[in-house]
Symmetry: C2
Subunit: 321 residues, 2 copies
Amino acid sequence: MDKKIIGIDLGGTTAKFAILTMDGEIQQKWSIDTNILDEGSHIVPEIVESINHRLNLYNMTSEDFIGIGMGTPGSVDLEKGTVIGAYNLNWATLQPVKELIEKGTKIPFALDNDANVAALGERWKGAGENDPDVIFITLGTGVGGGIIAEGKLLHGTAGCAGEVGHVTVDPNGFECTCGKRGCLETVSSATGVVRVARHLAEEYVGDSKIKALLDDGEEVTSKDIFEYAQAEDPFALMVVDKVCFYLGLACGNLGNTLNPSSIVLGGGVSAAGEFLRSRVENYFKEFTFPQVRNSTKIKLAELGNEAGVIGAASLALQFDK
Amino acid sequence: MDKKIIGIDLGGTTAKFAILTMDGEIQQKWSIDTNILDEGSHIVPEIVESINHRLNLYNMTSEDFIGIGMGTPGSVDLEKGTVIGAYNLNWATLQPVKELIEKGTKIPFALDNDANVAALGERWKGAGENDPDVIFITLGTGVGGGIIAEGKLLHGTAGCAGEVGHVTVDPNGFECTCGKRGCLETVSSATGVVRVARHLAEEYVGDSKIKALLDDGEEVTSKDIFEYAQAEDPFALMVVDKVCFYLGLACGNLGNTLNPSSIVLGGGVSAAGEFLRSRVENYFKEFTFPQVRNSTKIKLAELGNEAGVIGAASLALQFDK
């Protein structure tokens, strides 16, 4: 039997698992709740237990696997295989994840942060078409990303490469949780879209149902704004245009700097689909020079939730000797 | 005797040559005029002749060399070793450079574009300290650059990676020769600095010698503006501050995206030295999030003119088997 790889996508609510072929085809998948009690001390033991239980169920042993890869929140030390500062897991102190998982499963283990792992997934089996140069941007509660260039995932000197959510798109813009101003995240995350709407609502005088909801203090989501925009609410269209301007500027500068074959948009906000993509692309074209405009594509993510386990599993390919 | 490498920095006026050890120490260097007559058809034959002449002079043969590397203007096809569209060399049509040089010297040959090669040089033996993640920006007649990430020079899907001169720093800014607006090059190249000065002069009402020169239609250079600024001319200081704001914004976003250990500033404008660097760094800090601010350094280039031959020679190391 050909050897397999395991991918784990660890989040604050669930840990997703998959067994894949070395070509990246998912053969089995399952998930467990993430137990963050007791400073997250149950998380790794429960991951080990779940893997061993499943291998037993499928009549497999550690010998059947090349390795395990995992994506995790927090700051990752790639070489040591440790994680620190993953607050949604209650991991405030250093966690020797690699050591514990290798000991518990007898399978080689590698990890990286969740946004990087999702980027690897979309690049390998999704919109990235396994090209050597792909950028992935996830537009969710926050904005994160990962960069693959010349076939390698980039980390930078302190592990911050790919943190495109903190690219400055407006030097005089909104304050960000990171402490500086005008980060992409402040205007294109799910909360950022609503922030842009509230800001523009102060000056907008036309007729708009969504503006009326905002003015009435109703809870309005990014999804609502995109839905009203697709129904041609003029104020919502203005908000979407502004959000896409900032995304197009950021994507344009990523293109001008790195010239990937594709910049892939994923995460909750990207559920707006082609409506979002085409508008980002229009601004992208305005902000790129001709050779980049003609060679770098703006795409939608294709793997959804599975990007994490697939990309995580791809980390295990390094153990294939 | 240990084997050597040859670096060539081909420009529109001269071609610089150096013989280096495999550690990057220059042992011999010379240069020849670039003869761009007859559609640049003499350039490659004269490079071959010059190398063979020198090897003869130094009692060396092709056997003494690992390889030759060259930096060139124009669009480079790395695999084929061809160049096209190098207009300052009169190379409008495809030039089979690798084929001709390997045939004429019997030494393996590789090439890349001039900005990338200078980046490799500064990274290897200059301010980059041979770190795996280094960005080089050259502020000259134009603004170019090169990016090394995870130890690899980045090219992108159409060879445009590192074209930081065309990063948009002001969506409503000056028109650029590339066709779009607000490129870094329009405000921080040698001509860009003067453009910023002329623009600000329209509104500045205070007393300033350099503004008076501009208003009188005198020819003013970027160097003049930096000299007046260092002599505390208030208008010149305002121009320099604006230029450094844009450079700091661009460097900040390179930092937020790639988190290199250093961003190295070179080229003619960087002759302003620490006066420039410290001001760019101040804005860089304003436009980066804390982990990048604390790990990515803004530095001045150290190799000057030699960055090209040193970086070019480093391309030849790929032939060391």
